[in-house]
């Protein structure tokens, strides 16, 4: 594993391409994301937003090119080191991906345990996280008994459970109503203010306009444009 001197950019991609047999999902992507940046990855469906995010936490591996995350070159990282890379990330999915047979508490405890929290601290940590997302009253509930917004709040709590440096959220608000979407976005902003880097993949231009921040626009697997939009841009 090659470790670079820590750069101000927490994520760097150099000429990254990803192919699925005949189909090119990403083509020659080069970009940087600064530490503590709030970035949107936007573009139409099939543009490669999800693939780009998945490459960062090694949910996929790049076909060509180099990716460096917090000083770690992903093409040279040993298999056994992958869990340590992933602990740098908090991942939020469009479909929440909560375990339906486990309670809200257990869903978060799973991550708290997995990152090696001491047994005595697990309960305290989980309840504190649930308080952060306003779900402490529902700790016993099963995910399917919650609304979409509530499930996504639990998913946010799970994502930040390991105190990650980077949050990647794949269409986190696309299946939520406006109020729920705002709550989720505020939670992500709060976490960003605490020093984390946040990358959100979305095709919701309204959300980007209202929030502001850098936008990386993808089109057919290529970076089409990058711009910085101040909040409230119309």
């Amino acid at each position: 594993m090659e470790v670079f001197e820590k750069p101000s950019a927490i994520i760097q991609m150099f000429h990254v391409s990803k192919r699925y047999s005949a189909k090119a999902a990403l083509v020659d992507i080069s970009l940087e994301v600064a530490d503590n940046e709030f970035v949107f990855v936007s573009g139409p469906s099939g543009a490669g937003k999800t693939t780009l995010l998945r490459l960062l936490y090694m949910g996929e591996t790049a076909t060509t090119g180099q990716i460096v995350v917090d000083g770690l070159n992903l093409s040279r990282i040993a298999r056994r080191r992958v869990p340590f890379l992933r602990r740098k990330f908090g991942i939020i999915f469009q479909d929440y991906r909560l375990i339906p047979s486990r309670s809200v508490f257990d869903n978060i405890a799973l991550v708290v345990e997995a990152v090696g929290t001491k047994r005595q601290l697990i309960r305290k940590t989980v309840m504190s996280l649930l308080r952060t997302v306003g779900m402490e009253e529902r700790w016993r509930a099963l995910p399917l008994s919650l609304s979409g917004g509530e499930q996504q709040r639990v998913a946010v709590a799970r994502a930040i459970a390991g105190d990650p440096k980077i949050i990647v959220a794949d269409e986190p608000t696309s299946s939520l109503d406006h109020d729920s979407a705002e709550i989720i976005l505020n939670l992500l902003k709060q976490y960003h203010q605490r020093g984390a880097t946040v990358m959100i993949a979305t095709h919701d231009t309204e959300l980007i306009r209202s929030t502001g921040g850098r936008v990386i626009l993808l089109k057919e697997g290529r970076v089409d444009a990058a711009a910085h939009l101040p909040a409230g841009t119309s």
Partner: protein, 292 residues
Amino acid sequence: MIIYFQKAVRDLRANLFLNTVTVITIALSVLIFSAFMLFFVNADGFLRHWIADMRIMVYLKPGVQPETVDRMKSRIENLPGVRKAEFISKSRAMDRFRDQLKRQSSLLDGLRENPLPESFEVRMDITARGWRNIEPVAREIESLNGVEEVEYGQQWVGRFIHVLNLIRVAGYALGGMFFGAAVFFVANTVRLVLYSRRDEVEIMRLVGASEGFVKDPFYIQNLIMGTLGGLLGITILYFGYRFIAANVAAELSTVSFQLIFLPFRISLGILLGSMFVGWLGCFISLRQFLKT
């Protein structure tokens, strides 16, 4: 480790039916394999018991001189596998014959002279080498000057050993087949459980859970199932043995041989083997599943 163990126990409870079937499958495999082992242990014991009692009778030609007898005795006792060669004089042979005939011994009173030959009673070592040597030893003795005839039960022993070896090979083959079947079954059970929990496993891996955190509870769970299956199989065998021993004891009362249960070392080996079955099944499934 305590967390892994707790998770393993919780998962065992969560998939109780599937895990119970797996334990029963392992138990059946263990039962069949250990039943063969029990048979071999007792057959070996019986054979040793029989070999201990086995002898070669060497009948001498009439008129062999005492110094020749002494020379023959020392030559026989120096042969490999021979434990002891005892000279039986004509008169001693007759006394023994009388003893064997008991109440019918009066039949011998009419004999004008003792027709029984002088002989040697040769006893072999109570080892596998001892009975295997019996045929060459007998041939060697037969070639000695003054020997009329040599008698021994080698052919019977040979056949018995041959049958025993066939059963042993069949036992190993069956044991191997059941071992394979048990591993296959455990691997499939683990695969089913993994499949039903693939979201959970996926989430765990995405949040940076170490390989150990994901895999170890499965390994612990399957080691527990292997242990339970092994203990269950050996326990059923023990009760089966008690039942058979109680019924066969009466039949064997005339022989000093006694049925025994599997020695501790073999039982422990079987138990470790069944734990290994659990571990191996889990290893195979996890390797396949987590590769994807």
